[in-house]
Symmetry: C2
Subunit: 503 residues, 2 copies
């Protein structure tokens, strides 16, 4: 519980070295630094949420806990902006019946980002208060206590951190570079943009699982520490495991497939995926979150492709419906066209994509993989032609896919595999997997893979395995591309790349 200034620990914890409240300060009980909240009491005081402070509450006395977003002293008055997540309100401390000169000075000296408890009367504003989410009311402060004091020098300013970059360049006003943001993530994550990005990301996970559970999928948990590098050993992190060593899983694929062989039929998992790739690009992380799906099908892997595509469509729709405020908040700083998609999802064959690219002047072979620039160009061509930011590319050349990919039954140079794209960037890779141990062995040999190392994998299919397909979605990429952001580090709370392991 906040204690009044001059009581308890508060005495020693003034925000700066100003003098103690004068004995003749008639407001001295009405402000100060509270003793640390250590669960001393269970008062029945209600703290009202800032977002609920509207004209309906006019003339009510309320208690609010918020951060000091800005403060500005002006003669006998001090204007504070109090912030709570993405909401904020103007609070006025003015010399008068409730506040003394000393109290105004105290309020004006509270470091930005400190957390305060404020008692005040909600008053209708004479004119709209620009820059605050609560534009129609302000709070006339009667008591103010510091709950947690911030250090005086912030490593970055929140206002700078939400400034659109173009404006910053035009105006010469400060913006915050990415490393400063990431080095001081606790503060950077407080911005309205970051709050919106990560609430929306939480929503993507929720919609992904909601949709799949509705479709009859079961959630599985797969191990991240594995005994053998699943895909040949490249790009894998090594872990010391007691007296031996182990690896970090590059994907849950083997385990998803084992669950299919174990009759779970439709499974999904959400979890970290590790790639020891020394790629320093806008879209690679060494640790990211995989949204993974695997499903037994009856006759054709398109049964699975349709389920995955529909799951993504349900996510896009759910975001539109439930996260409109967050999308608009991010757009303020990073303007972007709304994300477009078709129902049913557009599915092109790889050869059609190659034809489109050739028509646009690109030279490439039939069995050549898509380069990143070609991927993006293709995204633009597809957008022009079909007006969609989301599509499936089906029937990749067998040569560019992993050994466990099912060959196409008609054209042996093709495979039953697919990628999915958002705004011209790959967000999912998937395939029908070979469920026959004999064919799997042949294909592994053809790829020069040491059969001894994948014995456990192949053995999983020896006791009856249904035909199945699946895919893995990169969560951070989906968030980035849905919102039209440009770096996956903006959509990973604590990103990991070859050069960053902290915070």
């Amino acid at each position: 519980m906040p204690s009044a200034a001059g009581r308890g620990q508060g005495k020693d914890r003034r925000p700066d070295n100003e003098e103690q409240p004068a004995a003749d300060d008639y407001a001295k009980e009405r402000y100060g630094v509270s003793s640390m909240i250590q669960s001393q009491e269970k008062p029945d005081r209600v703290l009202v949420r800032i977002k609920d402070l509207t004209e309906e509450k006019a003339d009510e006395v309320v208690w609010v806990r918020g951060r000091v977003h800005t403060s500005r002293a002006k003669g006998k008055q001090c204007f504070l902006v109090l912030r709570q997540q993405q909401f904020n309100i103007q609070a006025l401390v003015a010399v008068g019946q409730h506040a003394s000169k000393q109290m105004v000075k105290f309020a004006a000296n509270i470091n930005k980002e400190s957390i305060v408890d404020v008692e005040g009367v909600v008053r209708k504003a004479h004119q709209k208060i620009g820059g605050c989410t609560q534009q129609d009311v302000e709070l006339h402060v009667q008591r103010i206590y510091v709950i947690s004091l911030a250090e005086p020098r912030l490593p970055l300013q929140l206002d700078d951190a939400v400034r659109p970059e173009v404006e910053g360049e035009e105006d010469g006003r400060a913006t915050v570079n990415q490393d400063t943001r990431l080095d001081n993530r606790v503060i950077d994550l407080r911005t309205s943009t970051s709050q919106a990005v990560f609430c929306l990301q939480s929503g993507i996970c929720q919609l992904f699982r909601e949709t799949l559970i509705r479709k009859g999928f079961v959630e599985i948990q797969t191990p991240k520490i594995i005994s053998a590098a699943s895909e040949g050993g490249a790009n894998v992190f090594t872990v010391s495991y007691f007296k031996s060593s182990a690896y970090l899983a590059q994907s849950p694929q083997l385990y998803k497939q084992m669950c299919i062989c174990a009759d779970f039929e439709k499974v999904f998992c959400v979890g970290p995926v590790f790639r020891a790739e020394d790629s320093n690009t806008h879209r690679h992380l060494t640790e990211f979150v995989g949204l993974d799906i695997e499903m037994a099908f009856n006759y054709h892997y398109h049964e699975v492709v349709d389920e995955i595509a529909d799951t993504l469509v349900q996510i896009f729709k759910g975001l539109q419906e439930r996260f409109q405020a967050e999308i608009q908040m991010v757009n303020k700083q990073f303007p972007c066209e709304p994300f477009k998609f078709l129902e049913p999802t557009l599915r092109l064959e790889y050869r059609e994509a190659v034809a489109m690219l050739r028509e646009a002047g690109i030279e490439m072979g039939d069995e050549e993989d898509l380069s990143t620039p070609n991927e993006k160009l293709l995204g633009r061509l597809v957008k022009e032609k079909y007006d969609t930011d989301f599509y499936i590319l089906d029937k990749y050349p067998l040569a560019v896919r992993p050994f466990y990919t099912m060959p196409d039954p008609v054209n042996p140079k093709n495979s039953n595999s697919y990628d999915m794209f958002m705004r011209g960037e790959e967000i999912l890779s998937g395939a029908q997997r070979i469920h026959d141990p004999q064919l799997l062995t042949e294909r592994a040999k053809h790829h020069g893979i040491d059969l001894e190392k994948i014995k456990a994998y192949i053995d999983s299919f020896r006791f009856g395995a249904p035909p199945h397909a699946g895919g893995g979605i990169g969560l951070e990429r989906v968030t980035m591309l849905y919102l039209g952001l440009h770096n996956v580090r903006q959509t990973s709370m604590f990103p990991r790349d070859p050069k960053r392991l902290t915070p």
Copy 2:
């Protein structure tokens, strides 16, 4: 698409080396081994689920895909039990209009666990069919094709794997030991018990998140590769990270707390947690799934304790309501009293627990931690006195808790910390965390922790931090104890312990 016997690849893939179908076999098109399903076609044949085969479908002709659970030839007939997840039905292949002698022989020779497509007429059974979930109907087979052939020798028998252990000892009938199960997990997971355990576990995750999202929590994703061992460096796995090294997170706690400092207010995460402990017990794993919660509170950490306890209660209730069939399925093999809990949850103080134990004849000091046997004894005492399998133990001695635990404001030997127990075993540990950098520094020094190593942690609280508390729940333990199982390896799909890294 299944092709008839004698066509395509089927020719070369007979389940055993029997002769080719005789030319005079009038049923030769009606059975065989299908060519591998490679997505050749999109037929409109509907495969009916075994669980939907009831008297209502009597006399209908249906197609079913299932595993051969058992087969038994008897003169001119062959009885198969076809299984699909936890459901099964008897299928009869009998010499007659549709089936020849050769076809019956073919069916009788299909290896157990093979996947078959069967066309048959649903017929009312003359008497209840024991041992099948579909007791009132059987399937009179008209066509049967092998979709995926299992090897003839199974490493374990599913019937043995679901046999209650007591019965096995009494009868001298086989059961399957744990290592055999885990070594052949793909088959062990097919049992009705395993299917039920892991469907219920999927439900726990779902109920956990559903409840928290309803309470306004945000899901976060925290990194598992970290640069510094968070709690001093013991029991941590080391990862080689490019030219340097890193660690695997022992808990998401630091990151949860950073999210609280970043104003997310209420967060949760579900993800792997790594402990390099050489503990070979029934309840320790080196990798398990943590259900983690962290929450800012207003005045008292009991606000958080109440939310966590209610979340667990919502999980228990949801399981009762939605997973009754699974609970009963597991109980068949592992009989157990139903899980009991109170609303609101019983909360005892540590000193009360010590008094109860002393009354039961245990000698222990006021500031001594609970040993595992004492924990279990206490569980029995609490059950006797309060009739609950779930309770909270609050106010642990400060001496037995980590440095970041908030001391009790009244009695400095105590702390604002708590554990939660199910059937006498700990499933959650939590506390109010110290949110004041100065006190945190003092407590770290008192514990002899190198301040340099936890600098980033302490610095997180320097820019205003709300009071907060949280806790971490072990998913596998909750599943185990809710179902009254006796080993956490039964509730981890692919368990990891000091001696097991495969499959």
